[in-house]
Symmetry: C2
Subunit: 375 residues, 2 copies
Amino acid sequence: MFELHKTATTTKARLGTLTTDHGTIETPIFMPVGTLGTVKAVKQDELIRKVKAQIILGNTYHLYLRPGCEIIENAGGLHSFISWDHPILTDSGGYQIFSLSDNRELKEEGAHFKSHLDGSKHLFTPENVVEIQRILGSDIMMILDECPPYPSSHDYAKESMELTHRWEKRGRDAFLNSIPHYNHQQFQFGIVQGGTYPDLRKESAKYITDLDFEGIAIGGLSVGEPIELMYEMTDLNTDYLPKEKPRYLMGVGKPANLLHCIARGIDMFDCVLPTRNARNGQIFTPDGYVNIRNAKWKNHNRPLDPDFPTDLCSRYKMSYIHHLFRNNELLGLALASLHNLTFYLWLMEEARNRIADDTFHSWYKQKAELLDTKI
Amino acid sequence: MFELHKTATTTKARLGTLTTDHGTIETPIFMPVGTLGTVKAVKQDELIRKVKAQIILGNTYHLYLRPGCEIIENAGGLHSFISWDHPILTDSGGYQIFSLSDNRELKEEGAHFKSHLDGSKHLFTPENVVEIQRILGSDIMMILDECPPYPSSHDYAKESMELTHRWEKRGRDAFLNSIPHYNHQQFQFGIVQGGTYPDLRKESAKYITDLDFEGIAIGGLSVGEPIELMYEMTDLNTDYLPKEKPRYLMGVGKPANLLHCIARGIDMFDCVLPTRNARNGQIFTPDGYVNIRNAKWKNHNRPLDPDFPTDLCSRYKMSYIHHLFRNNELLGLALASLHNLTFYLWLMEEARNRIADDTFHSWYKQKAELLDTKI
């Protein structure tokens, strides 16, 4: 499934390909998030033609509640339901149970929770989230885990990690003892936890590695801890992960974060940030970011960056984009979402090119600093 | 500017072309409404490539308040501000003063009103709306009129019409005594009023004809009167309008209304209905309309109409479109808006083809009935 083509010499950055029945993904890669089976404000054909997305993400928790498994199964699976003939990764719903559900109770068998929509009661177990993701038919499914909050005590983080480990063993067994519902192969990724404690992170990486998933995710980061601590834990985790498996850092992040984590050996990313921030008027560019609602753009009658190939950057005057945002026009949200995702995928391509020609190390720190600058 | 190519034999339907410096428009035509310089939820390149829009409309009242004339003038006019190199028609703002403004007072010199946004005080006169539209730089500008409500007494409708006539004379003079601000020609259309009174409609048509505008609009209809009365007034008005001028029925309407009014000699239409109703989940098709939020579509796993060339109709399953609307996803609004406008422009092309091959009369009534049917 995963082929490692190159590891950079001075950093841990890697170049690889990940092959699924719906297409091959070049890594490092960013996966746009399509929570409810739609990447907000972006059309499927734009994701392919303009964003050049290679894989998108769907949220099991959300799709299970709306429209529900029956409708997606009747439609022939998630690919068919949303008309997307390219790779899809689905998470396990674990993170949303803890961040969205009104009420949840962790037991050994699984996570009991109430829907954030109507208060209805549900249970996710390591086994049934495999079954739900068999119904969704994602190319890559994630294992059920518990994501402890930051900060958590060492005791809490350890107990949580141990529960996650037991769940992951059960989830892996359920996966190995079941078969795809549709005519394509599915892979399963495990998730490393351990809070911000190096000993637990190390232990978890080893345990999860032994379960021999097709890929390994680093979970429980980017949940409020200082950014340097996130980098540190990522760096430590990748030291204990097998080279031949793809590594996915969940829920990260800003453009600069991606570069720093590629340097620490990460292959895959997902985050709602580019689309959510787009809807708030934050535009990412190769030279830093812009808050389009700022009055400084009101009378700025040139495009932001004529050389960057999105309509937002090269077709429209900044004064017009500012006007759209000031008036909450849907066109503003659509142009900015399309732009930010195109930028993220462009940044990943840049990173891949830099790894390929051995200039990543000399490029990424300065670039990350520039990307974090407000224009 | 306008060339009349053909008038149907059994109905008053006409085939023509309207030539502006930004392009030639085939009539009958529907003009998508871009209130604030954006057709809601549709991208400019989609308007051209997919909708096949030939001309769009901007609202003087809205653009004057936001972003204001200074910003649009600095950007080089409305075409340049919104990046639209095709024809634009702007209304005079008269209708919005009466429908949106918190507070307005009609005087002989013009309409005093307070902004619906911040309560600030403004005055529109027949002369300054010409000047504002010179700044906007629309290809076709409308004259300032008063649009009386329905129902209005004969006395009120007559007084209102007479004020409108005095304003139109002043507005026409202001137009003839001023020049474009940019490097393209502008035309000015007059507006016939007279409420729902045949004698006034006839008088107004004659008066406005004498002012020799480049085109003539029928105003004051589709404001709540019975549909048959709207058809009757339209029919009566076109009998008194010169054949060699384009005729624009303002603010109409549903697909069936368009066909009935083409049969009564109308060349141009505008209405927010296709985009507004799209956002509420009403989808127009050649075989009738659909309310996509209806539960009957929840588990409907086929496209609505594989033969109609929009993504909404032919790419996606109805269950998915239903899901998008039930969850207020922006993609639903975008797909439906794009679809409805594409449908309106397709319907106009159908009508033109039917007029060209002399089958309009035998086609339009049955088609109008079908279009008014709920699927």
